[in-house]
Symmetry: C2
Subunit: 305 residues, 2 copies
Amino acid sequence: MVQRLIEKIQDTKAPVCVGLDPMLGYIPEQVLEKAFDEFGETLKGAAEAVWQFNRELVDATADLIPAVKPQIAMYEQFGLEGLKVYERTVRYCREKGLIVIGDVKRGDIGSTSAAYAAGHIGRVKVGGASFAGFDTDYITVNPYLGTDGVKPFVDACSEYDRGIFVLVKTSNPSSGEFQDCLIDGRPLYELVADKVAEWGSASMDGAYSNVGAVVGATYPEMSRALRKQMPRTYFLVPGYGAQGGAAEDLRHCFNEDGLGAIVNSSRGIIAAWKKEEYADFGAGRFGEAARQAVMDMIQDINRVL
Amino acid sequence: MVQRLIEKIQDTKAPVCVGLDPMLGYIPEQVLEKAFDEFGETLKGAAEAVWQFNRELVDATADLIPAVKPQIAMYEQFGLEGLKVYERTVRYCREKGLIVIGDVKRGDIGSTSAAYAAGHIGRVKVGGASFAGFDTDYITVNPYLGTDGVKPFVDACSEYDRGIFVLVKTSNPSSGEFQDCLIDGRPLYELVADKVAEWGSASMDGAYSNVGAVVGATYPEMSRALRKQMPRTYFLVPGYGAQGGAAEDLRHCFNEDGLGAIVNSSRGIIAAWKKEEYADFGAGRFGEAARQAVMDMIQDINRVL
């Protein structure tokens, strides 16, 4: 899987990923109004607005980028109607040739993780047949339960040529509360990183592993050390832009080969039309604003590589 | 919320919870066949089988128990069709007066956790209206991202009178890999426990907090220490029965008042009909086998309290 991701990144010259995290507050009034006119101010109406918003964003940016990362919580908040649109968005993006990283942060005891893996990156057996539920290329995984909670995801990577990004060091302000705790002088996230590298050795695809790591852009010194510690692990880097990470902070997430990381931006792209910088586009041309924001982000990141 | 849970536990004299984790392998042939006859060997067929299985289990046990704990992964593996049955199961159980603990183990950065909280234990705003998506009483939460990733769930507990159980020490074999790491001489799970107690103080309901903890039955010495460390925290205790935890191991999860813990069993109840002990019921009376297994479990646990 990771080789497909690398090819897409090289084709687009863009180690970036657009986070499809559609809060209703990011969706222009005209899109909301149309959806509410049709389905009322209901979960179905909200889901329809999200879908129309996503579709325009994807249409406006798909040729520029290798991947998208829908955050499933933003769909799950609308219950089943929202999850229908999550599935529809995943399908639409894959049809457009995009690699889809489902940001689901699942993780549980072994048998339960196996069920999550089947539903998101694998297939589930039903009698003599098998089916892919949400069918994303990659998902994010939480490591708190240890090896037996992660292994079923790694197995699915190998069996179905998919990938995962395991949370190592997250981008949020309180990520250090547990992740930075020192164990024999080393922070917990480094111990997790050791395990990620070990797990990843069971699912190599060329020079890199299908088992990647989430490493926040907001802690550049830590990502520098993690890059050295996990040379064959691809990084998914959240926190660029709206969360405070700058392009200079990202340099150390990449290897000498210019590979090794894909940087996500969500709000900075999908809500670009609300930023002063892109205000000229207006709410009516929110897709074009997102496109311009993607081009600016690519330039910003390539500048420091 | 926790007071409602305590009342239900006292009414039933049963500090137990049935895990509705319906793997297809647990469902008797006649239930599968009927569902496949109607909907084929499809995701919808599998979901229908799960629903019929759940309904009979709930009908057979609801008067004996305070709560059920559906594991959402077992539904999510069947994609949208599975999640429809998750929602239907939640609704059915709540109509029967059961407290429903959604075992979802969600957790992310603040804004994302807020979306999960809205979808599972809160309400989401759509225009001038608001809706509850999955509408469970409790959910389980993963603490790896720290305070800002957990706080939105705690806020929802207070606002909507709901509860959460935060993973502290899980029941699986490799739970110690990270959770037991020593930080200044104390294991990580104790640091998490400190935080759970602190978070919980913001959502008290009588003598206990709406913010509970997941503490596995499989590590009795640890649960003894955690019980002392978090006297006002309710424990959700997985791992009894099939995972290896015995009743004697559970004693220390309870406080002197006889309260403080609810013990879950999944496979041991819902697949009781497959165990030698309950073989006389046969596959046709799997509900009655589950009922007997619940009665035996209640007796087993009350024996040591």
